[in-house]
Amino acid sequence: MILTATLGLPMLGALVIAVSRRWTETTARLFAVGVSLLPVFLLAWAWLQFDTQGALFQFVEEVPWVPSLGMGYRLGVDGIALAVATMSALVFSASIAYPVDTQNQPRQYYAWMLFLQSVSLGVFLALDLLLFYVFFDLSLVGMFFLIGRWGHGQAQLAAFKFFLYTFCGSLLLLLAIIGLYLSVEPHTFDMRVLIEQQPLAGGGVAAGLVFLALMIGFAIKTPIVPVHTWLPQAHVDAPGPASAVLAGVLLKMGTYGIIRIPYSMMGETFARYALIIALFAVASILYGAFVALGQRNLKRRIAYTSINHMGYTVLGIAVAGALIQDTEYARELALVGATVEMVAHGLITGALFLICGSFWQRTQEYDLDSYGGLLRQAPLLTAFTVLASFASLGLPGLAGFVAEFHIFAGTFDVYPWLAVIGVLGILVTASLFLQMLQKLFFGTLPQRWAHFEDLHAVEWGVLAVLSAGFVIIGIAPEFLLTLIEASATLLVGGP
């Protein structure tokens, strides 16, 4: 019941807000924050109960939904899903709590946010392929309305582009899911059965096509170069909290999906193409980093670093899936690293996008060159931005480092030369963040920002929680690593 409650409570909350016509903005907001925290607690509790020696999927719930199609309401988590889901729930709470201009439609805004939280968690908790797809698609709908209604700039265009582009990916995914579904007898969408049976093993055109469709579908969502082009605009025009959710949670659906479906269910085919995937990942790492370096728009720059970071994750997964002899340990390291990267990127980039939101609320300006010398004016803002930027560029002691260390340690053993090229990305990331910090906070303060306000209590409170997350993971990652390793060992060890 715990997972159903995790999904159901935000959905109920969304309905309650949607029908409570008399609520003021404050009431709606407090209620939304309260409801959005429930999944965090529920998942934390599940985390404590999780048996690291136990079965791959735990807390399994199963109710037949459409038995004649082999579809059921099946929920369950392994360590990877649990870690990512908990992070997602936290990022949602933070985003909902973060102050934003709701343009006189607070109830609608918070209702959509809670709706999105519910369906996004559903993606990570689903153990049924079709249910996974249901939540995957619904998250697009929620995000479409959030960007289009509360975005700025060319918000509608951005929302359209986001929906259409990622919907292409979804449909490919649907076709691939049908392909997987038809390849097992009796036809079923049960992920456990599919993981166990490894359908379409042994190659053939069908396996190649299904795999290709799955990978393109997830690559669009992740996004991996060259199908990343929806991302920058969606981010720039979305309201701050929606960007945080987009980067922190929605992108993870792509990489989580890669782990859950092609990696787990088609291990053999995945191994055959692992090198190609790794090459695309490295391309994303470098492309994302260099293009981010070239951006003068604060939010665009952070958006491109997401492409870079998701590249690390995909690299980790690709390495984990390369079935090369005697590299089990390295591959497990890489898979653990990929998962930690998802969690770390969610927290860190979530925080960075919320900070962008704070900039927008104050100035309606993202141009880096127009800023300078904010250090004295806004010390708290500076502190949190510096912390998050350092975490993002992989400074030891912070979460990004733990993740990247694992990924590259694993990669060195499997594809050493790719690791060497990939590490270059970290260098570029470091320089782009340092340059960004310098432009924002050092130098002389332009006259027009003389009344720039520092972070308010709510803002820095939220940022402090997220920062605490990635600092703790950086200093004492054990609690996270044991959880993930429990599942990674099972996944890498027994395809």
């Binding site: 037949p64 939904w65 459409v66 038995p67 004649s68 199609l69 079709l130 797809y133 249901v134 698609d137 619904l138 709908v141 479409f144 309305f145 289009g148 209604r149 918000a155 509608q156 929302a159 359209f160 929906f163 259409l164 919907f167 292409c168 449909l171 490919l172 649907l174 076709l175 049908i178 392909g179 579904y181 038809l182 096509l209």
Partner: protein, 469 residues
């Protein structure tokens, strides 16, 4: 004569006659009772149809009338869709002098569609097509004083006359080839071999004749005009219901063709052309009803996918009927909203509607998303089953084309949704007074969601249905 086998149809006919008489002898302001009569007739018909459910698939009346799962389930879909159309009409038609007769025409048109779905005989098929056409032309042009409605009716009639003639020619040629009109005998005749050229002509003519009712390429041109110009409830009827009968009739007809007629390829080409044309044409529409008309064309293209893989995939017929049902609910919900909004049609007039009439806007958005196939709305399961049988039947490329088309369609559906949700305009909104259209709209909207969540129950009616032949 096994009269019991056609009791549902007899009840429809009698109901229509009673309505005509009722309308002739009562004042206009009481004519909305004719809607109640029509609903009662349909309810009776549904009950009688359900009573036929348990019997084995069979042909009755010397083999001209099919009583099988496909016929009965599509009959149920047609009847329920018809009930929704009737229920959304009274306020719209209230000011019309001939309000009462409208319902009789609807019932006759329903009867024609049911005949199409059940016909296992070419003459029976012609009768069904003609009855539904003849009853539909006046529906399209019901507001005869209004030029666009007349134009729509005229186009509908001209294209209809041409294609119905073609259909008849095809039927005559088939008769010449096999000496029979019944499907079992025709199938047998074909199996013994026949003149290839004549067979091709016959097939082409009959398929063309049916594409008219299906609003599929190349006889689709009436659809956008009818959707835009005819009364909104009639447009709801004409964009949905004839399709159901025509799709089943087409499936039934091609299933008796000998294998050397490449009917799979033909239907696949029609399917691809129809869905692509419909979607591309809908992209730039600035009129919501016209846009829905084009979208309806494209949906016919999707439905044809199931016919392509008939026989190659076990569930093809289930997928066909289920998809048609899901399409019917979504399109009727959309038109119910349009009716409720007094036929509001220009896209720009939909700006900011979500603030003024949130429920209507939400239902319209839900229906559009269901037409795209966003889960868990019912349209998703319809599309899912289509894709699934198409891939299973070995037509993966067709499924890809359909998926690409779905993305295109998302664009224009979203345009409407975005205008209603994102625009800050505060339009003056007139809605139909009274509860008929409004409650129909809500019921159809609920069906979208409840049908999606309770899809298992609906599948009982389409699971493992097959032709009696």
């Amino acid at each position: 004569m096994p009269i019991g086998d056609v009791l549902p149809e007899i009840s429809l006919t009698l109901g229509a006659v009673v309505i005509v008489l009722f309308a002739a002898f009562t004042r206009q302001q009481h004519h909305h009772w004719a809607a109640v009569l029509a609903l009662l007739t349909i309810a009776l018909c549904v009950v009688l149809t359900l009573a036929q459910w348990s019997g084995p698939p069979r042909l009755t009346f010397s083999g001209v009338w099919a009583l099988d799962g496909v016929a009965i389930s599509s009959k149920l879909v047609v009847l329920i869709a018809g009930a929704l159309v009737v229920a959304m009409s009274p306020e719209w038609m209230r000011t019309d002098r001939r309000h009462g007769e409208y319902y009789a025409l609807v019932l006759f048109a329903l009867l024609g569609v049911i005949m199409m779905a059940s016909a296992s005989d070419t003459m029976e098929l012609v009768l069904g097509v003609l009855l539904s056409s003849v009853a539909s032309y006046p529906l399209a042009a019901y507001h005869r004083g209004w030029a666009p409605a007349l134009e729509a009716g005229m186009k509908y009639f001209l294209i209809g006359a041409l294609t119905n003639a073609l259909l008849t020619i095809g039927v005559v040629v088939v008769f010449g080839l096999t000496g029979n009109t019944g499907y079992p005998e025709i199938a047998q005749g074909f199996a013994e071999g026949s003149d290839n050229l004549a067979l091709t002509i016959a097939t082409a003519s009959i398929v063309l004749g049916l594409t008219f009712k299906l609003a599929a390429f190349p006889a689709h041109a009436w659809m956008p005009d009818v959707a835009q110009g005819s009364p909104a409830p009639a447009a709801a009827f004409l964009t949905v219901i004839p399709k159901i009968g025509a799709a089943v009739a087409l499936a039934r007809f091609v299933s008796i063709l000998p294998p050397d007629v490449a009917w799979r390829a033909i239907v696949a080409m029609i399917s691809v052309t129809t869905m692509t044309l419909g979607n591309v044409a809908a992209l730039r529409q600035t009129d919501v009803r016209r846009l829905l008309g084009w979208s309806s064309v494209s949906q016919s293209g999707y439905a044809l996918m199931a016919i392509v893989v008939m026989g190659a995939s076990e569930q093809a017929l289930s997928a066909l009927v289920f998809f048609l049902a899901s399409y019917a609910i979504a399109n009727l919900a959309a038109f119910a909203v349009v009716t409720h909004l007094r036929g509001r049609t220009a896209l720009d007039d939909y700006q900011g509607l979500a603030r003024k009439v949130p429920i209507a806007a939400m239902i319209l958005i839900a229906s559009l998303l269901s037409l795209v196939g966003i889960p868990p709305l019912i349209g998703f399961f319809g599309k899912f089953m289509l894709f699934s049988v198409t891939i299973e039947g070995g037509y993966t490329w067709l499924a890809f084309v359909a998926a690409a088309n779905t993305v295109i369609s998302l664009f224009y559906y979203l345009r409407i949704a975005a205008l209603m949700m994102f625009s800050g305009a505060r339009p003056i909104v007139h809605v139909l007074l009274g509860q008929w259209a409004r409650s129909t709209m809500v019921v159809a909207g609920l069906l979208l969601i409840v049908g999606g969540l309770g899809v298992e129950t609906l599948m009982i009616f389409t699971d493992s249905i097959r032709f009696a032949l």
